[in-house]
Symmetry: C2
Subunit: 501 residues, 2 copies
Amino acid sequence: GDIMEETGALIRKRRATISTGKCVPLKQVNGRSEVDESVNGRSDSGNIVTKRNVSDLPSTTSKERKKRINVPSDRQSCHRLQESLLSSASGYRNYRGVLNWCVVMLCLTTVFCFSRYGILVDPIQVVSLFIKDPYNMPAACLVIVSNVFIVAALYTERRLSVGCFSERVGLLVHSINLSVTLCFPVTIVLMVKSITPVGGASALGVYTVLFLKLYSYKDVNKWCREMSHAKARSLARSLSCSSIPRSRESGQDYQVSYPGNVTLRDLYYFVFAPTLCYELNFPRSPRIRMSFLLRRLFEMLFFTQLLVGLTQQWMIPIIQSSMKPLEDMDLPMMMERLLRLAVPNHLLWLIFFYWFFHSSLNFIAELLQFGDREFYRDWWNSETITYFWQNWNIPVHKWCLRHFYKPLLKSGVSKWLGQSAVFLASAFFHEYLVSVPLKMLRPWAFMGMMAQLPLAWFVARFLRGNYGNAAVWLSLIIGQPIAVLMYVHDYYVLHYREGEY
Amino acid sequence: GDIMEETGALIRKRRATISTGKCVPLKQVNGRSEVDESVNGRSDSGNIVTKRNVSDLPSTTSKERKKRINVPSDRQSCHRLQESLLSSASGYRNYRGVLNWCVVMLCLTTVFCFSRYGILVDPIQVVSLFIKDPYNMPAACLVIVSNVFIVAALYTERRLSVGCFSERVGLLVHSINLSVTLCFPVTIVLMVKSITPVGGASALGVYTVLFLKLYSYKDVNKWCREMSHAKARSLARSLSCSSIPRSRESGQDYQVSYPGNVTLRDLYYFVFAPTLCYELNFPRSPRIRMSFLLRRLFEMLFFTQLLVGLTQQWMIPIIQSSMKPLEDMDLPMMMERLLRLAVPNHLLWLIFFYWFFHSSLNFIAELLQFGDREFYRDWWNSETITYFWQNWNIPVHKWCLRHFYKPLLKSGVSKWLGQSAVFLASAFFHEYLVSVPLKMLRPWAFMGMMAQLPLAWFVARFLRGNYGNAAVWLSLIIGQPIAVLMYVHDYYVLHYREGEY
């Protein structure tokens, strides 16, 4: 009796494993229940062939199987109730090949253009975007000076860790350091005449990233001190190396605990690592894969070429030709130019996304043996605007969640207000990175970001599934060039029209 | 002891089920084993968010969970060892959004073109492709005459079912009927001057489909007779309605068994049904979904417009401009024109594929409540040429497998020879459908199909994964326009150059 009960329990347990595991569920198709093979988007092509070929033969008992050679009746039934794969009802979602198709088409177009027009990139023009005078590079100097703020943050943390600074003094020093990190480059960019807009934007980008990193550094070190003060040292150690099997597996991987991490080497690793969230013990990849590194390097070079070529040959002519309609506020012509600008602008954005978030960040991560390569998630499938913003830029999203949204929630702010605050902060930084280098304060980037809130509400409320996804794509394709045209128009009016009068 | 053994066997069986089932395997990432969530391409976006948000919090015991509000240390570790989604190592394959992107881009381009150039389709030109003289429509007459062959096949089967014809006589009559089905339209198309190439190709297409359907009809009925002669009537009934739960579920769904199916109504249902393989009891969908039907109808109309517009505005100008280089055998110019032709030709083929295999066949199937909508499989992911040919056209593939390849194997032919024979037959029909309407016998279509065999060997031998997939795409993009240019050139030389001299 006992044995029976025990084995019965064992079977029930296994059954539970089966049902909670990610097995293919029995799916209701047209009111009838049947195992839907095609739903499984994960199995590779080879598997599908095998499976399908097997299912072509209807299941026969062993008795019937013997007769198969004589009685060919098992070939009679060769249809079964099912939806086409492209119907959304089929639930099929494996379109890796479509991505490859896009790559093949892009390469063919590039080859065709190069064979027809030759190499179109003008390198001197590119360099002149960044610097006006090779003996006077203020943007580069600005980036070099940023080391001061890194060292200041480390100094403050050192003092805090040994107790020389109280928490209050530490917070004050950090706040001053962080606000100077944001304000100092602004004054330089606005004051120095020889800084170009592109050079200024790059320098400001570096400072913004540094600001976010140092903010995270300050927060995490504070949490570590809070933990030690709570006299939960044992807990702290087990949490700081969260995945215990890792340290168990590879004995040589030593785990750093709190005061040991406040070193120059540790901080500079974090500054160069492709993440904005500080952690005492980052997951590390076991070795540098040379072939991976070289492929990413090749992609970086190829896509840089493509980005510059497309901008010079496609974007700039359209932008120049849309100045006249924009000045005259000629609405039909403006719409036409906007649609013409939308396609190259969107392609540039997509190539930029791949170039930065896949090629470049993976290249840096591989060099530094940084293990977490989640720089983006599947935003291309996003069916709501919110999902897109949560998944296209994971380093920033992670930072916002960890150092802004969750602390806000903890301080009693409502969920909706917290989300709006994140969008507001994001809008501020977008404006900061565009207005300051162009040396003109216009609200377009800010408004573009804030317009996402009602848009997100609208899409989530009225559109579902593939229609929602199409709406996200449309907002990307149409929304961006509007903002671009606005800034370009204002910049043009400010700098070139003045000369005319 | 016996009970232990039995339950032990049961557990082993369950374990086998788990390991062969489609559960997510423990995946080796960078040498460490961990359950990879991102692999699961099937879960929809919403699910991923939930799962990810949960995984943001490292797993904590209930003791620690209580302390979470006071000790914020669970926020410390926010990275884990993982690959980027676009890296092939991640195994992620859900790119439904990329397909939507293609649709959005296509619609935007169409809207842009229409808003700029107006509606470009010339309907009179389209009609004139099919008929020269509205009072003399030989292609339409040819299609109407095809009913004779359907009735002849039914008559033969009736005679066979009651025993008036012996199997031998039946085979002879069927063979005559089938060969006349193939040869009769050829003589008409070649003899009647007023048939246009497009009209002729359509009529021949109808006759080819009819030939394949009647061949299948003859085979299946023969199998049914073989079964009844084997005195296995009870077995026959259980097999003819292969999915037993269906008949059990809905009592009103009666299942036809052999001699009852030889009716005019049954045969005409099969003739119009979107399949080439006859079956006594087709799976039926429970009702006609009006919204589905209307969406497919809209797609059919929209894509017809697009197909005609693209051909008239994009294809024909390029083809006309490539006649001169082709005549002079100017190789660099020919290459350039080929590349220029490749993109519109490929887009047309893709739109045609969707228009025919998804919209049109689903529309017909919905009207006829035909249940099996598998008209294509995931050929866009194919990593070998063979996989592409096995999956892009399922009705033909199913027919070849059931009525040509498997009988060949059974008669002792080797697997490789059987595959080559299928390609040979396919090449014959491609040639048949192109050469006869153009009234010129050129080997390009035949050679194009036969060239797939060495190409398939090459791709399978040297290319894997995404590279194999890219090779399949390239062969589609480059291969087709070569054959198109060949025929167009020869047709042009034959019909227009003659007039010059």
